[in-house]
């Protein structure tokens, strides 16, 4: 996708500037953009490495197991068909906890394992089951307690209150998740 969008952006911009007569500004902009990418990356080294370090500690403690237990009723509601599949339940809840803690890198491998476990009981191997569909939609909804990446970017950019958007993110995420879950529950009966 970006193999089409990226060159299109560049070619259109240069042509437009050529016709509009501000090609000089565009020329200066090219080098400015590369140095601002470097500047941002340098601040990312601090913020992103810091979070990754803290979250690595969380991953090694029993904190994950504790939250997993709290999620059990929710998982029963979302995945009624997996009532007797203990392994799938466990992997799904670990994926959800990793997502909640903002551990994207840990969440994906856990999620893929859950998909493989659910695939074992799938009668039609080339089609998603209801549970798999629900699981994917949940993963695209980005349920997060602490949006660590966004906070890291905001502090890199010199925000006065990098974490000041947490409440907004919670509300938006919950609305997105509820819409996704409802749509999935309705659509799975028809399609």
């Amino acid at each position: 996708m970006l193999n089409i969008i990226w060159p299109a952006f560049i070619i259109i911009s240069v042509l437009y500037a050529f016709i509009g007569g501000n090609i000089e500004e565009v020329s200066n902009g090219i080098f400015e953009s590369s140095s601002s990418a470097v500047e941002l990356t340098i601040t990312f080294f601090g913020t992103i490495c810091l979070w990754n370090g803290i979250m690595e500690i969380a991953k090694r403690t029993s904190l994950m197991d504790k939250i997993t237990k709290l999620l059990r009723p929710l998982i029963h509601f979302l995945f009624p068909e997996l009532k007797n599949n203990k392994q799938a339940n466990e992997e799904i809840s670990m994926n959800m906890v990793a997502n909640l803690l903002g551990l994207g890198n840990a969440a994906t491998p856990l999620g893929l394992k859950a998909m493989q476990t659910m695939q074992k009981e799938n009668p039609k191997k080339d089609t998603l089951t209801n549970s798999m569909a629900m699981f994917i939609v949940l993963n695209t909804a980005s349920l997060q307690l602490i949006p660590t990446n966004v906070i890291a970017i905001r502090s890199s950019l010199g925000s006065h209150s990098p974490s000041g958007i947490i409440l907004q993110v919670w509300i938006a995420t919950i609305v997105a998740a509820v819409v996704g879950i409802t749509a999935t529950k309705i659509l799975m009966k028809r399609f």
Partner: protein, 175 residues
Amino acid sequence: MQIVHFLSATAIPMMIVIIIAYGIKEKQKVFDIFLEGAKEGLQIVIQLFPTLLGIFLAVGLLRSSGVLDFVIQLISPITNLLQIPSQILPLAMLRPISGSASMGVAVDIMQQYGVDSIIGSITSTIMGSTETTFYTIAIYTACVKIKKIRFVLAAALLADLAGMITSVIICQFLS
């Protein structure tokens, strides 16, 4: 509002303390583990850099050439009607397609309009509350060789749209 501010400000330090306290209670070598995780973070940032560079180039060109202003002006009647700041539209369109590209665009918007402005808050909220939908669906189905994804794309994009609209409304409401 003050409570919200207080909760936002305490959430992160509290979380760090709780995590470290748990690590100590369970007799983990917390500092060594921290170093390991931070080292992994280096890798993430290094991998992100080429994408950031490429996106900054393309978006920077769009902006300095005047194309972006032209497009924003073109669609502003629709966005005004829906009360959506048109400056966030490039983000809304890229968000489901590419994680690192949308991060580049988000940073560009926040630098341009101010990270603490309403547009900056909306941009942050969208980044925090949505995912790279296409990528997620692709890897989750590819790993089990599934071809028929039924309604999943529609449901996921609907959830993204709901998240984005909520971001716009809630940030304007809370500011």
